[in-house]
Amino acid sequence: MNKFTNLIIRDIRLAVRQGSAFTMTLSFFVVAVTLYPLGVGPELNILARIGPGVLWVGALLSCLLTLDRIFQADFEDGSLDQLMLGSLPIELMTLAKIIAHWLTSVVPLILITPILAVSLNMPADGIWVMMLALLVGSPVLSLIGAVGAGLTVGMRRGGVLLSLLVLPLYIPVLIFGVAAVEAAIAVLPMGPHILLLAGLSLGALVICPIAAAAALRLAVE
Protein backbone atom coordinates (compact mmCIF):
# COMPACT_ATOMS: atom_id res chain seq x y z
CA MET A 1 0.00 0.00 0.00
CA ASN A 2 2.92 2.33 0.56
CA LYS A 3 3.46 2.62 -3.22
CA PHE A 4 -0.03 4.17 -3.36
CA THR A 5 0.60 6.65 -0.55
CA ASN A 6 4.13 7.33 -1.87
CA LEU A 7 2.65 8.45 -5.17
CA ILE A 8 0.15 10.72 -3.42
CA ILE A 9 2.88 12.22 -1.21
CA ARG A 10 5.13 12.78 -4.23
CA ASP A 11 2.35 14.57 -6.12
CA ILE A 12 1.52 16.75 -3.12
CA ARG A 13 5.21 17.59 -2.66
CA LEU A 14 5.40 18.51 -6.35
CA ALA A 15 2.35 20.77 -6.03
CA VAL A 16 3.74 22.42 -2.89
CA ARG A 17 7.17 23.03 -4.46
CA GLN A 18 5.54 24.46 -7.57
CA GLY A 19 3.43 26.88 -5.50
CA SER A 20 1.99 28.35 -8.67
CA ALA A 21 -0.54 25.49 -9.05
CA PHE A 22 -2.19 26.39 -5.70
CA THR A 23 -2.31 30.11 -6.12
CA MET A 24 -3.49 29.89 -9.75
CA THR A 25 -6.60 27.89 -8.88
CA LEU A 26 -7.46 29.99 -5.84
CA SER A 27 -6.96 33.32 -7.57
CA PHE A 28 -9.06 32.19 -10.53
CA PHE A 29 -11.85 31.13 -8.17
CA VAL A 30 -11.76 34.46 -6.31
CA VAL A 31 -11.62 36.58 -9.45
CA ALA A 32 -14.35 34.58 -11.20
CA VAL A 33 -16.73 34.91 -8.24
CA THR A 34 -16.07 38.63 -7.72
CA LEU A 35 -16.99 39.27 -11.36
CA TYR A 36 -20.62 38.38 -10.65
CA PRO A 37 -21.43 41.28 -8.30
CA LEU A 38 -19.73 43.61 -10.81
CA GLY A 39 -21.90 42.18 -13.55
CA VAL A 40 -25.18 41.68 -11.72
CA GLY A 41 -25.03 44.77 -9.48
CA PRO A 42 -24.41 45.21 -5.78
CA GLU A 43 -28.01 44.69 -4.50
CA LEU A 44 -27.53 42.34 -1.61
CA ASN A 45 -30.83 40.50 -1.98
CA ILE A 46 -30.06 39.58 -5.59
CA LEU A 47 -26.55 38.45 -4.61
CA ALA A 48 -27.97 36.37 -1.80
CA ARG A 49 -30.40 34.79 -4.26
CA ILE A 50 -27.71 33.80 -6.81
CA GLY A 51 -24.93 33.19 -4.24
CA PRO A 52 -25.01 29.36 -4.04
CA GLY A 53 -25.18 28.98 -7.83
CA VAL A 54 -22.31 31.42 -8.40
CA LEU A 55 -20.07 29.68 -5.87
CA TRP A 56 -20.77 26.22 -7.24
CA VAL A 57 -20.23 27.26 -10.87
CA GLY A 58 -17.02 29.03 -9.82
CA ALA A 59 -15.77 25.92 -8.01
CA LEU A 60 -16.62 23.77 -11.04
CA LEU A 61 -14.75 26.01 -13.47
CA SER A 62 -11.65 26.49 -11.31
CA CYS A 63 -11.44 22.75 -10.74
CA LEU A 64 -11.69 22.32 -14.52
CA LEU A 65 -8.69 24.61 -14.91
CA THR A 66 -6.31 22.22 -13.13
CA LEU A 67 -7.66 18.97 -14.57
CA ASP A 68 -5.42 18.58 -17.57
CA ARG A 69 -2.35 18.85 -15.31
CA ILE A 70 -3.22 15.54 -13.60
CA PHE A 71 -1.60 13.38 -16.30
CA GLN A 72 -0.18 15.92 -18.75
CA ALA A 73 2.87 16.79 -16.62
CA ASP A 74 3.83 13.12 -16.23
CA PHE A 75 3.09 12.42 -19.89
CA GLU A 76 5.42 15.18 -21.05
CA ASP A 77 8.48 14.07 -19.04
CA GLY A 78 7.95 10.33 -19.55
CA SER A 79 7.02 9.55 -15.93
CA LEU A 80 3.64 8.26 -17.14
CA ASP A 81 5.37 5.35 -18.93
CA GLN A 82 7.26 4.44 -15.77
CA LEU A 83 4.11 4.75 -13.66
CA MET A 84 2.26 2.45 -16.04
CA LEU A 85 5.09 -0.10 -15.83
CA GLY A 86 5.22 -0.16 -12.05
CA SER A 87 3.75 -3.14 -10.25
CA LEU A 88 1.00 -0.84 -8.86
CA PRO A 89 -2.17 -1.61 -10.85
CA ILE A 90 -2.97 1.24 -13.22
CA GLU A 91 -6.45 1.75 -11.70
CA LEU A 92 -4.86 2.31 -8.27
CA MET A 93 -2.22 4.57 -9.78
CA THR A 94 -4.96 6.66 -11.40
CA LEU A 95 -6.87 6.78 -8.12
CA ALA A 96 -3.75 8.00 -6.34
CA LYS A 97 -3.31 10.76 -8.91
CA ILE A 98 -6.98 11.73 -8.54
CA ILE A 99 -6.74 11.88 -4.75
CA ALA A 100 -3.59 14.01 -5.04
CA HIS A 101 -5.36 16.37 -7.45
CA TRP A 102 -8.38 16.55 -5.12
CA LEU A 103 -6.19 17.41 -2.15
CA THR A 104 -4.05 19.97 -3.93
CA SER A 105 -6.67 21.68 -6.12
CA VAL A 106 -10.17 21.16 -4.78
CA VAL A 107 -9.71 21.27 -1.00
CA PRO A 108 -8.17 24.79 -1.14
CA LEU A 109 -11.34 25.90 -2.93
CA ILE A 110 -13.44 24.58 -0.07
CA LEU A 111 -11.29 26.41 2.47
CA ILE A 112 -11.68 29.75 0.69
CA THR A 113 -15.44 29.44 0.12
CA PRO A 114 -16.51 31.13 3.40
CA ILE A 115 -14.81 34.41 2.49
CA LEU A 116 -16.46 34.50 -0.93
CA ALA A 117 -19.80 33.42 0.52
CA VAL A 118 -19.75 36.39 2.87
CA SER A 119 -19.05 38.68 -0.09
CA LEU A 120 -22.18 37.26 -1.72
CA ASN A 121 -24.22 37.97 1.40
CA MET A 122 -24.84 34.30 2.21
CA PRO A 123 -26.28 33.63 5.69
CA ALA A 124 -24.08 31.79 8.20
CA ASP A 125 -25.67 28.32 8.12
CA GLY A 126 -25.70 28.53 4.31
CA ILE A 127 -21.90 28.88 4.34
CA TRP A 128 -21.46 25.86 6.59
CA VAL A 129 -23.66 23.68 4.34
CA MET A 130 -21.91 25.06 1.25
CA MET A 131 -18.58 23.76 2.54
CA LEU A 132 -20.14 20.42 3.49
CA ALA A 133 -21.78 20.06 0.07
CA LEU A 134 -18.52 20.98 -1.66
CA LEU A 135 -16.63 18.49 0.49
CA VAL A 136 -19.08 15.66 -0.32
CA GLY A 137 -19.64 16.53 -3.97
CA SER A 138 -16.18 17.63 -5.10
CA PRO A 139 -14.63 14.14 -5.41
CA VAL A 140 -16.91 13.70 -8.44
CA LEU A 141 -15.25 16.77 -10.00
CA SER A 142 -11.81 15.19 -9.74
CA LEU A 143 -12.99 11.69 -10.67
CA ILE A 144 -14.94 12.50 -13.82
CA GLY A 145 -12.38 15.16 -14.64
CA ALA A 146 -9.63 12.53 -14.52
CA VAL A 147 -11.47 10.49 -17.15
CA GLY A 148 -11.60 13.56 -19.38
CA ALA A 149 -7.94 14.31 -18.65
CA GLY A 150 -6.98 10.73 -19.52
CA LEU A 151 -8.82 10.96 -22.82
CA THR A 152 -7.22 14.27 -23.78
CA VAL A 153 -3.66 13.71 -22.48
CA GLY A 154 -1.06 14.32 -25.13
CA MET A 155 -3.40 16.37 -27.30
CA ARG A 156 -2.35 19.69 -28.73
CA ARG A 157 -5.30 21.76 -27.45
CA GLY A 158 -6.86 19.20 -25.15
CA GLY A 159 -8.06 21.78 -22.61
CA VAL A 160 -10.99 22.98 -24.72
CA LEU A 161 -12.09 19.43 -25.54
CA LEU A 162 -11.70 18.44 -21.88
CA SER A 163 -14.21 21.09 -20.77
CA LEU A 164 -16.69 20.10 -23.49
CA LEU A 165 -16.47 16.47 -22.44
CA VAL A 166 -16.57 16.99 -18.71
CA LEU A 167 -18.94 19.90 -18.01
CA PRO A 168 -22.16 18.16 -19.09
CA LEU A 169 -21.28 15.34 -16.69
CA TYR A 170 -20.85 17.85 -13.83
CA ILE A 171 -24.49 18.97 -14.03
CA PRO A 172 -25.95 16.55 -11.45
CA VAL A 173 -23.32 17.64 -8.90
CA LEU A 174 -24.13 21.29 -9.59
CA ILE A 175 -27.88 20.74 -9.21
CA PHE A 176 -27.74 18.76 -5.98
CA GLY A 177 -25.02 20.99 -4.53
CA VAL A 178 -26.94 24.20 -5.07
CA ALA A 179 -30.17 22.53 -3.92
CA ALA A 180 -28.51 21.56 -0.64
CA VAL A 181 -27.32 25.09 0.06
CA GLU A 182 -30.64 26.67 -0.88
CA ALA A 183 -32.49 24.19 1.32
CA ALA A 184 -30.21 25.10 4.24
CA ILE A 185 -30.77 28.82 3.67
CA ALA A 186 -34.54 28.28 3.55
CA VAL A 187 -34.22 26.17 6.75
CA LEU A 188 -35.55 23.11 4.93
CA PRO A 189 -34.08 19.58 5.38
CA MET A 190 -30.95 19.43 3.24
CA GLY A 191 -30.27 15.73 4.12
CA PRO A 192 -31.49 14.18 0.84
CA HIS A 193 -29.39 16.54 -1.30
CA ILE A 194 -26.20 15.77 0.63
CA LEU A 195 -26.93 12.03 0.49
CA LEU A 196 -27.44 12.24 -3.29
CA LEU A 197 -24.12 14.07 -3.60
CA ALA A 198 -22.46 11.35 -1.54
CA GLY A 199 -24.08 8.73 -3.78
CA LEU A 200 -22.69 10.44 -6.86
CA SER A 201 -19.21 10.55 -5.32
CA LEU A 202 -19.25 6.88 -4.38
CA GLY A 203 -20.56 5.88 -7.79
CA ALA A 204 -17.88 7.92 -9.53
CA LEU A 205 -15.25 6.48 -7.16
CA VAL A 206 -16.00 3.02 -8.57
CA ILE A 207 -16.31 3.75 -12.27
CA CYS A 208 -13.92 6.60 -13.01
CA PRO A 209 -10.51 5.10 -12.05
CA ILE A 210 -11.27 2.16 -14.35
CA ALA A 211 -12.29 4.43 -17.21
CA ALA A 212 -9.32 6.74 -16.64
CA ALA A 213 -6.94 3.75 -16.61
CA ALA A 214 -8.40 2.53 -19.91
CA ALA A 215 -7.94 6.01 -21.35
CA LEU A 216 -4.32 6.13 -20.15
CA ARG A 217 -3.50 2.74 -21.67
CA LEU A 218 -4.70 4.27 -24.91
CA ALA A 219 -2.68 7.46 -24.55
CA VAL A 220 0.55 5.64 -23.74
CA GLU A 221 0.44 3.48 -26.86
Binding site: L164, P168, I171, P172, I175, G203, I207
Partner: protein, 243 residues
Protein backbone atom coordinates in the same frame (compact mmCIF):
# COMPACT_ATOMS: atom_id res chain seq x y z
CA UNK B 1 8.66 -2.51 -45.54
CA UNK B 2 5.95 -4.48 -47.31
CA UNK B 3 2.48 -3.15 -46.58
CA UNK B 4 -0.12 -5.80 -45.90
CA UNK B 5 -3.83 -4.97 -45.81
CA UNK B 6 -4.92 -6.24 -42.42
CA UNK B 7 -8.42 -7.58 -41.90
CA UNK B 8 -9.77 -4.14 -40.89
CA UNK B 9 -9.47 -2.80 -44.37
CA UNK B 10 -12.40 -4.47 -46.13
CA UNK B 11 -15.11 -6.08 -43.98
CA UNK B 12 -16.71 -7.21 -47.24
CA UNK B 13 -19.43 -9.20 -45.61
CA UNK B 14 -20.73 -6.20 -43.63
CA UNK B 15 -20.68 -4.03 -46.75
CA UNK B 16 -22.51 -6.65 -48.79
CA UNK B 17 -25.30 -6.97 -46.19
CA UNK B 18 -25.80 -3.23 -45.81
CA UNK B 19 -25.88 -2.51 -49.53
CA UNK B 20 -28.45 -5.30 -49.92
CA UNK B 21 -30.69 -3.78 -47.22
CA UNK B 22 -30.31 -0.22 -48.46
CA UNK B 23 -32.93 -0.11 -51.30
CA UNK B 24 -35.54 -1.77 -49.10
CA UNK B 25 -34.88 0.62 -46.23
CA UNK B 26 -35.21 3.60 -48.58
CA UNK B 27 -38.56 2.40 -49.96
CA UNK B 28 -39.97 1.62 -46.51
CA UNK B 29 -38.88 5.04 -45.29
CA UNK B 30 -40.62 6.88 -48.12
CA UNK B 31 -43.83 4.90 -47.63
CA UNK B 32 -43.89 5.37 -43.87
CA UNK B 33 -43.15 9.07 -44.16
CA UNK B 34 -45.94 9.53 -46.69
CA UNK B 35 -48.47 7.73 -44.50
CA UNK B 36 -47.21 9.43 -41.35
CA UNK B 37 -47.37 12.92 -42.79
CA UNK B 38 -50.81 12.31 -44.21
CA UNK B 39 -52.09 11.08 -40.82
CA UNK B 40 -50.30 13.84 -38.92
CA UNK B 41 -51.41 16.77 -41.04
CA UNK B 42 -54.74 15.78 -42.46
CA UNK B 43 -56.38 12.79 -40.85
CA UNK B 44 -56.01 13.47 -37.12
CA UNK B 45 -58.42 15.87 -35.42
CA UNK B 46 -57.24 19.03 -33.73
CA UNK B 47 -56.86 18.85 -30.00
CA UNK B 48 -59.68 20.64 -28.05
CA UNK B 49 -57.13 22.37 -25.80
CA UNK B 50 -54.03 23.00 -27.86
CA UNK B 51 -55.63 23.28 -31.25
CA UNK B 52 -53.34 22.56 -34.20
CA UNK B 53 -50.13 22.85 -32.20
CA UNK B 54 -50.54 19.20 -31.23
CA UNK B 55 -49.42 18.44 -34.81
CA UNK B 56 -45.94 19.63 -33.85
CA UNK B 57 -45.86 16.71 -31.42
CA UNK B 58 -45.85 14.30 -34.39
CA UNK B 59 -42.46 15.70 -35.36
CA UNK B 60 -41.13 16.52 -31.89
CA UNK B 61 -41.72 13.26 -30.01
CA UNK B 62 -40.27 10.87 -32.65
CA UNK B 63 -37.17 13.09 -32.89
CA UNK B 64 -36.75 12.92 -29.11
CA UNK B 65 -37.19 9.12 -29.19
CA UNK B 66 -34.57 8.83 -31.93
CA UNK B 67 -32.15 11.11 -30.08
CA UNK B 68 -32.24 8.88 -27.00
CA UNK B 69 -32.27 5.50 -28.81
CA UNK B 70 -29.37 6.44 -31.14
CA UNK B 71 -27.23 7.35 -28.11
CA UNK B 72 -28.08 3.98 -26.53
CA UNK B 73 -27.24 2.23 -29.83
CA UNK B 74 -23.88 4.07 -29.94
CA UNK B 75 -23.13 2.97 -26.36
CA UNK B 76 -23.95 -0.67 -27.17
CA UNK B 77 -21.91 -0.76 -30.39
CA UNK B 78 -18.97 0.95 -28.62
CA UNK B 79 -19.15 -1.61 -25.82
CA UNK B 80 -19.03 -4.48 -28.35
CA UNK B 81 -16.14 -2.69 -30.07
CA UNK B 82 -14.17 -2.47 -26.80
CA UNK B 83 -14.98 -5.98 -25.55
CA UNK B 84 -14.96 -8.12 -28.71
CA UNK B 85 -12.69 -5.86 -30.80
CA UNK B 86 -15.26 -5.97 -33.61
CA UNK B 87 -13.62 -3.83 -36.34
CA UNK B 88 -16.79 -2.08 -37.53
CA UNK B 89 -18.29 -1.28 -34.11
CA UNK B 90 -16.43 1.99 -33.55
CA UNK B 91 -17.12 3.13 -37.09
CA UNK B 92 -20.84 2.39 -36.77
CA UNK B 93 -20.99 4.51 -33.61
CA UNK B 94 -19.08 7.26 -35.39
CA UNK B 95 -21.48 7.05 -38.32
CA UNK B 96 -24.56 7.23 -36.06
CA UNK B 97 -23.41 10.23 -34.01
CA UNK B 98 -24.16 13.04 -36.51
CA UNK B 99 -27.61 11.56 -37.20
CA UNK B 100 -28.32 11.46 -33.45
CA UNK B 101 -27.12 15.04 -33.12
CA UNK B 102 -29.46 16.14 -35.91
CA UNK B 103 -32.44 14.43 -34.30
CA UNK B 104 -31.58 16.00 -30.93
CA UNK B 105 -31.34 19.42 -32.56
CA UNK B 106 -34.70 18.83 -34.27
CA UNK B 107 -36.26 17.81 -30.97
CA UNK B 108 -35.00 21.06 -29.42
CA UNK B 109 -36.19 23.28 -32.29
CA UNK B 110 -39.63 21.69 -32.59
CA UNK B 111 -39.91 21.67 -28.77
CA UNK B 112 -39.31 25.40 -28.55
CA UNK B 113 -41.67 26.01 -31.51
CA UNK B 114 -44.31 24.05 -29.59
CA UNK B 115 -43.49 26.01 -26.45
CA UNK B 116 -44.12 29.44 -27.98
CA UNK B 117 -47.91 29.19 -28.36
CA UNK B 118 -48.19 27.27 -25.07
CA UNK B 119 -45.97 29.35 -22.77
CA UNK B 120 -45.47 32.55 -24.70
CA UNK B 121 -41.67 32.19 -24.96
CA UNK B 122 -39.50 30.06 -27.22
CA UNK B 123 -37.41 28.54 -24.47
CA UNK B 124 -38.70 27.44 -21.08
CA UNK B 125 -36.35 25.45 -18.87
CA UNK B 126 -38.66 22.46 -18.98
CA UNK B 127 -37.14 19.26 -17.62
CA UNK B 128 -37.33 17.32 -20.87
CA UNK B 129 -36.07 20.14 -23.07
CA UNK B 130 -33.14 20.72 -20.68
CA UNK B 131 -32.18 17.03 -20.68
CA UNK B 132 -32.40 17.07 -24.49
CA UNK B 133 -30.05 20.07 -24.53
CA UNK B 134 -27.52 18.24 -22.33
CA UNK B 135 -27.79 15.18 -24.58
CA UNK B 136 -26.95 17.49 -27.48
CA UNK B 137 -23.76 18.54 -25.66
CA UNK B 138 -22.85 14.87 -25.16
CA UNK B 139 -23.24 14.30 -28.92
CA UNK B 140 -21.03 17.33 -29.65
CA UNK B 141 -18.40 16.02 -27.21
CA UNK B 142 -18.47 12.61 -28.89
CA UNK B 143 -18.01 14.03 -32.38
CA UNK B 144 -15.29 16.40 -31.13
CA UNK B 145 -13.20 13.56 -29.73
CA UNK B 146 -13.11 11.80 -33.11
CA UNK B 147 -11.74 14.94 -34.64
CA UNK B 148 -8.94 15.44 -32.15
CA UNK B 149 -7.00 12.20 -32.64
CA UNK B 150 -4.85 11.66 -35.70
CA UNK B 151 -4.71 7.91 -35.11
CA UNK B 152 -8.23 6.73 -36.02
CA UNK B 153 -8.10 3.45 -34.11
CA UNK B 154 -7.11 5.32 -30.92
CA UNK B 155 -9.88 7.83 -31.58
CA UNK B 156 -12.32 4.92 -31.79
CA UNK B 157 -11.36 3.53 -28.41
CA UNK B 158 -11.34 6.97 -26.76
CA UNK B 159 -14.78 7.73 -28.17
CA UNK B 160 -16.02 4.35 -26.94
CA UNK B 161 -14.85 5.11 -23.40
CA UNK B 162 -16.48 8.54 -23.55
CA UNK B 163 -19.86 7.29 -24.82
CA UNK B 164 -19.94 4.56 -22.15
CA UNK B 165 -19.25 7.09 -19.38
CA UNK B 166 -21.88 9.33 -21.00
CA UNK B 167 -24.42 6.52 -21.16
CA UNK B 168 -23.97 5.82 -17.44
CA UNK B 169 -24.54 9.52 -16.72
CA UNK B 170 -27.59 10.09 -18.96
CA UNK B 171 -30.12 8.59 -16.49
CA UNK B 172 -28.42 10.43 -13.61
CA UNK B 173 -28.61 13.71 -15.52
CA UNK B 174 -32.24 13.01 -16.42
CA UNK B 175 -33.05 12.34 -12.76
CA UNK B 176 -31.18 15.39 -11.52
CA UNK B 177 -32.83 17.70 -14.07
CA UNK B 178 -36.29 16.40 -13.14
CA UNK B 179 -35.37 16.91 -9.46
CA UNK B 180 -34.15 20.43 -10.30
CA UNK B 181 -37.34 21.12 -12.23
CA UNK B 182 -39.59 20.14 -9.33
CA UNK B 183 -37.52 22.33 -6.97
CA UNK B 184 -37.98 25.43 -9.11
CA UNK B 185 -41.49 24.62 -10.37
CA UNK B 186 -43.23 27.98 -11.05
CA UNK B 187 -46.92 27.25 -10.50
CA UNK B 188 -48.20 28.39 -13.91
CA UNK B 189 -46.02 26.35 -16.31
CA UNK B 190 -47.90 23.41 -17.83
CA UNK B 191 -45.49 20.59 -18.45
CA UNK B 192 -44.98 18.99 -21.84
CA UNK B 193 -47.35 16.09 -21.08
CA UNK B 194 -50.12 17.62 -23.08
CA UNK B 195 -53.38 15.73 -23.67
CA UNK B 196 -53.98 12.09 -22.69
CA UNK B 197 -52.71 10.17 -25.72
CA UNK B 198 -55.91 9.48 -27.63
CA UNK B 199 -55.75 6.69 -30.27
CA UNK B 200 -56.32 9.20 -33.05
CA UNK B 201 -53.05 10.85 -31.97
CA UNK B 202 -51.23 7.65 -31.06
CA UNK B 203 -51.34 6.08 -34.52
CA UNK B 204 -49.71 8.99 -36.39
CA UNK B 205 -47.18 9.23 -33.59
CA UNK B 206 -46.21 5.57 -33.94
CA UNK B 207 -46.14 5.73 -37.73
CA UNK B 208 -43.92 8.80 -37.64
CA UNK B 209 -41.71 7.05 -35.06
CA UNK B 210 -41.30 4.06 -37.40
CA UNK B 211 -40.71 6.40 -40.33
CA UNK B 212 -37.93 8.18 -38.41
CA UNK B 213 -36.38 4.85 -37.39
CA UNK B 214 -36.20 3.55 -40.96
CA UNK B 215 -34.96 6.99 -42.07
CA UNK B 216 -32.19 6.66 -39.49
CA UNK B 217 -31.37 3.18 -40.83
CA UNK B 218 -31.16 4.48 -44.40
CA UNK B 219 -28.83 7.37 -43.55
CA UNK B 220 -26.86 5.13 -41.20
CA UNK B 221 -26.13 2.65 -44.02
CA UNK B 222 -24.83 5.48 -46.23
CA UNK B 223 -22.65 6.90 -43.48
CA UNK B 224 -21.22 3.62 -42.22
CA UNK B 225 -20.33 2.62 -45.78
CA UNK B 226 -18.59 5.99 -46.16
CA UNK B 227 -16.67 5.43 -42.90
CA UNK B 228 -15.50 1.95 -43.89
CA UNK B 229 -14.46 3.03 -47.38
CA UNK B 230 -12.84 6.10 -45.84
CA UNK B 231 -10.63 3.91 -43.67
CA UNK B 232 -9.81 1.75 -46.68
CA UNK B 233 -8.91 4.90 -48.62
CA UNK B 234 -6.55 6.05 -45.83
CA UNK B 235 -4.82 2.67 -45.76
CA UNK B 236 -4.46 2.53 -49.55
CA UNK B 237 -3.05 6.06 -49.59
CA UNK B 238 -0.47 5.01 -46.98
CA UNK B 239 0.33 1.93 -49.04
CA UNK B 240 0.63 4.15 -52.10
CA UNK B 241 3.12 6.41 -50.34
CA UNK B 242 4.99 3.45 -48.92
CA UNK B 243 5.95 1.56 -52.13
Amino acid sequence: MAVDLHKFANPARFLRITSAIFPWAAIVTVLLLAVGLYLALFASPEDYQQGATVRIMFVHVPAAWMAMSIYVMMAISSATGLIWKHPVADLSAKAAAPIGACFTFLALVTGSLWGQPMWGTFWVWDARLTSMLILFFLYLGYMAIWGSFDDQSKAGKAAAILVLIGAINVPIIKFSVDWWNTLHQPASVATMDGPKIHSSILTPLLVMGLAYTSLFLTIFIIRVKAEILGRRLRILRLAHVED
